[in-house]
């Protein structure tokens, strides 16, 4: 099985604090620190979004780096490729801002940089051990793990819930 890591979302833990968005924008700013990021023009952009749902559920939404990614197939300039860490990456030098990827992404997580006229999305912070959003998340709504580890933990959590349910 693959030992490549992915960012997992647990909506039940998300409080909507937006720490992830702030950390993402800072990480993708020129100097990668909060204070200079605030004064950067144009403002650095977060590559993930926190949406609100059904009463009070918060849903962090970000590029899933799909196995069979529609954006990779659709890109007309060859800008979108899969990197060694399995992330789907938009090469900013090759992107021409035709927005075909925006048109085909079913998650709606590819942004349009109006200043640079190119597309942007989660790059899983290639220079860091952990993506900035995951490090910033105070509630473990975002975690960075291999699929195996994540599903094993999910199974354990589910069995704990079942056990508690039986006990109660």
């Amino acid at each position: 099985m693959s030992d490549l890591k992915e960012i997992f979302v647990n909506t039940q833990h998300c409080t909507g604090c937006l720490s992830c968005k702030l950390a993402c924008a800072v990480q993708h700013s020129k100097n990668k620190d909060l204070f200079s990021a605030l004064s950067q023009d144009p403002k650095p952009k977060s590559r993930l979004y926190v949406e609100w749902l059904w009463g009070n559920t918060k849903v962090p939404v970000l590029c899933r780096h799909c196995e069979d990614a529609p954006c990779v197939n659709a890109c007309i300039s060859g800008a979108i490729t899969r990197a060694e860490n399995n992330a789907v990456i938009t090469n900013t030098d090759k992107c021409i801002g035709c927005w075909t990827c925006v048109m085909v992404c079913p998650y709606g997580v590819i942004g349009r940089d109006k200043d640079l006229k190119i597309a942007y999305r989660c790059d899983r912070c290639p220079d860091q051990d952990h993506p900035a959003c995951v490090d910033a998340c105070p509630t473990e709504a975002l975690t960075y793990a291999t699929v195996d580890k994540f599903s094993a933990e999910k199974r354990q959590a589910a069995s704990r819930e079942v056990a508690q349910g039986q006990g109660g």
């Binding site: 849903v59 197939n73 925006v102």
Partner: protein, 414 residues
Amino acid sequence: MGRKYVIVGGSAAGMAAAHTIRKKDRNGNITVLSNEKAQPYFRPMIPYIINGKKRPDDIFLSGSGIFTQGGISVKTGFGAKSIDFQKKTVTTASGEAFLYDKILFSSGSTPYLPENIEGLDSEGVFSLKTLSDAQGMAKRSETATHVVMLGGGILNLKAAFALLEKKLSVTMVVYSPEVLSQLMDPKDAFPIRNALDNAGLNIITGISATQVLTDSSGVCGVALDNGSQIACQMVCVGKGVVPDTGFLNGNDIKIDKGIFSDPYTQTSIKDAYTAGDVAVAIDPVTGEKTVTSLWTHAVEMGICAGLNMTGSKTVYTGTLGIMNATQVADVPLVSMGIVHTKNSEYETHAKKTRLTYRKIVFSKDGTRLIGALFIGDIKNAGIYRYVIREKKNINGIKSHLINHTVHYGHFMQP
């Protein structure tokens, strides 16, 4: 000895199929026959060859996107001339014969040249289809000062902008009441039209050309059906494309507009498949047969054909007759599904600002999303495409679709 795959046509569909086959079948023998001289390239990028922003090296497929496999023999300059389905052989214009076990027809399309316009074979008349066309246009534009574009489709608009950037003056002659009439109703085009006018593109609508005028240096003008003439040194015809099926003439293969394809991309003949511009696919929204000329569709269908050719039976989910995204004159645009609603009974909702326009179209009974047109603001276009193409149940999210507040969370299982 591995299975022999022959692919006729080396652009989006053919190369997507070739790379897919290579991933699935490590021992197969894959030969791609391309009638172009250049190695396969990202065809939609050729407007950037006209304005010099890209060099041919920058737009070659090899190594980019899904085109990362090795061990594919691409024979450039080899146009298919005839097929013998009994002997399972394809013969090229140069006389070489290639045996196949599985063959893919992905020969693409050629520009449509209206017969009622005289002189389209003159020097200085172009249709932007190949890298070589783009290089020809780049060369001619070095000396030309004024160019006339015939047709107001997306490709001609891109070519027009490439020429505007080279400081040529550009007149676009459009027979329809407005540019981009395939992608939207004329009245919906206002943000684009304003931007085009502001960018200095001279657009004449409701007019047709009748003749290309020439002198010793080739094109010197265009005569129009209102009796007037426009002086120019270059003409670019963008009147759509027709599937390139000429090499199949005389064969007993089902052709109706393009090459017939069953749901598994197979033609009416065993071991022969088709994908891309030359293939007829079913539009999941209208249920009608459709041929399109979109890179994205060609790649998706090519991947599907590649899977089927290696024995992984895969249904092609279909081609939206209308689907395109682009940016013209700094205005982003996405059009998909059924977007022409003038005099129709579809339930439509439009939201307009000075610079943006978002229209969404539901079926007559309002239960299904069937189209969307976004100009200036294309946020979440992919979610709308997903709902249209997958015919998603819109119970509970319809108001979000109408108010443009829909997001991926709405599709998660509660």
